[in-house]
């Protein structure tokens, strides 16, 4: 793909000012949108793709590495240590929660439903704990991106690649966790509604 940094007039580096990106995106989108007189559907789609890359720190770092000529045979996409610890715990918790959600949805009897809701409440607490941990993890990774930005370009690309892989994983997990807790909250919310009716 084309240089997403150049498309928005940014310097190629690890960090991008989010507010400035949004501002520049909207300004260009208004001109390129197919509805506009100077519209160009192809360029509009490119613009959207480029924004998505710059918005997501993991994608942005990978794009930067690619633009700098790639890793050149250095294997560097392993995760940071703190990420590996989280990986194992979270996968099990998410699986358990997903099973509980389907149990609540498919319960045939009030007792089975009530029992599942009890477990759901406990799972929700555990998920909230996990969500906080992953938020802290993402914060610390974001800070590393800032540090990388300050030392740029005096930083090995392999280190950026590791950061990108960790960020991608952590952000994906955060999405999964918030999605799962959302579903659990919905299930528990419907229970509140039923007691109101009685």
């Amino acid at each position: 793909m084309k240089d997403a940094f150049a498309l928005f007039g940014f310097e190629r580096r690890p960090a991008v000012d989010a507010a400035e990106l949004q501002e520049r995106y909207l300004r260009r989108a208004a001109i390129l949108h197919p509805d506009s007189a100077q519209g160009d559907a192809r360029a509009f789609v490119e613009l959207g793709t480029a924004r998505a890359v710059l918005e997501d720190p993991a994608e942005r770092l990978n794009h930067l590495i690619e633009l700098q000529g790639g890793l050149k045979g250095v294997s560097g996409s392993s995760f940071a240590n703190e990420v590996i610890v989280e990986m194992i715990d979270l996968a099990a918790l998410l699986l358990e929660a997903t099973q509980e959600i389907s149990k609540i949805a498919n319960a045939l009897t009030p007792l089975a439903r009530a029992v599942s809701l009890q477990s759901a409440r406990n799972l929700l607490n555990r998920l909230e704990g996990a969500e906080n941990r992953i938020k802290l993890l993402i914060n610390s990774l974001d800070e590393k991106v800032e540090t990388a930005d300050q030392t740029w370009p005096d930083i090995p690309l392999a280190q950026l690649a590791q950061l990108a892989a960790s960020l991608r994983f952590a952000r994906k997990r955060r999405t999964q966790i918030s999605e799962t807790s959302f579903q659990l909250r919905c299930a528990l919310g419907y229970r509140d509604l039923q007691t109101q009716e009685e």
Binding site: L26, D35, A37, V115, C186, T195, E197
Partner: protein, 574 residues
Amino acid sequence: MIVGIDLGTTNSLIGVFEAGFPVLIADETGSYLTPSVVAFEPNAAPLVGFPALHRKNLTATDTIHSVKRLMGAYEKRSSSQQQFPVRLRTSVGDFSPEQVSAHILSKLKKDAECALGVPIERAVITVPAYFNDAQRNATKTAGELAGLTVERILSEPTAAALAYGLNRLHDRARIAVYDLGGGTFDISLIELNQGTFEVLSTCGDTALGGDDLDRAIADFLAQKLGVAARTLIKSAEEAKKRLSEEIKTEILFPFDHGEASNPTVFTRAELEAICHPILERTRAHCMRALQDAHLTQGDLDEVILVGGATRMPLVRALVADLFGRVPNTSQHPDEAVALGAAIQAGILEGAIQNLTLLDVTPLSLGIETFGGLMNVLIPRNTTIPCKSGEMFTNAVSNQVSLRISVLQGEREMAADNWKLGELVVPFTPAQKGQARVGVQFEIDANGILNVLIRDIATHQDHHIKIQHAVDVSDEAVETMIADSVENAFEDMQERAFTELRLKAEELLSALRSAFVQLGEEISTEERTHLDHLAQAARDALFTKALQPLKLAVAQLDEATQPLANRLLDKLTCR
């Protein structure tokens, strides 16, 4: 000249952008609203709108209303897995939902031509934001059948946002549009930024609306009056409307011979008790939209209500509770969407220059992968137009094609999503892994999918059409089609036992958990009693005796009810 059309479940409207303003066009009777009702008669042109509505009682089977609910729907015919487009059966023939909708559109087109004195050939037509690809395509087809070039399929809440934002082009604000119409519900979160309208997220239910409330009210009244619910729909609808202003009303049920029954009092409290569970279903969608936009209630500057059902005080209270603020009712519930469509027409004509609309695709688009999972290629809430590609290669030598399923929806399992259809990727015969074909999925500004296939070796591009095959997911739609599904091949006896067995196993396992969770709170006496019942169920399971199992499960279900309540109480207390 381009017109803007709101093709609604209950009512439709047409408007145009003129001299800097969106204006609605009235028909010859002076009404802006055209009821979305079509009545077919032998040897005559079909009636549309009020004339059809007034005919309704005389020729009920030939009068079609709420056809929007069937747009893009497919039905399964008994004894085959194949799906067929829905046909509506009338005494003058079968019609597709697109054909019926086209009659409504033709009527609106004629109204506009009379009022404006010019032929109308181009239109913007609105659809619920949550309409999928098949439903959008069907709407476009309906427009074409009515002799219109459909310049844009526009999402209804977005249209309403345009109507709200037209004279706020210099503002920066985040708004929610809560659109509860006759048959559909949408929630969209939109950011207004100096003339740019960026949709952040959208969610909804294409089978939830005022119609559902009317049906529930009719069911309630039917029980009270001892008559068939079907005959009470109209009274229910009218009572619902009156109760937006009054706190109680009288229901007069007209019998066929003209006499009325004794008036029955129907109160707003009763109405709200009936409607509350249905309206509560919008809550999860609103939460979902906020979650997807990474926003909380406090980030919103306004919550705008549109759609006829938002006149209900209960809806307003619910929205206020949901978003923690008093909703904005400045927009006309019935007219905002049509005005927005007219504004979009103005944008396309070039009459409005300083306004840009960045809409999104409501549903994720993907393909089925190994293991029956959905692989998302374009996530929901991606700004449209957009595209995404995937590369395919031949798995065996000289393979000539590969069949892939194209899916739309948010579920992990492929089978739980809408299957838009199948795509055949052609390969040039080559060694295994040598033939490579790029498939590009492109969602245009209408939210409609186009597929482009490129052979990497020959650099040949071709557009292909996917064959649509959309499941009828909604039960209400299924009953409306009134197509009988035969279960004759199933052994009812065996099926009954299987269902009971599942219920029994679930209860027995839940009972064990409940004993643990409640511990000392269960008396020895109660525990002995429950153990006794559980044993009876286990015995019946073992001997595979249907009747004893039925009895045991019923007894156990009833006896465990207090336990379920106690568990729920514990949940509430904490």
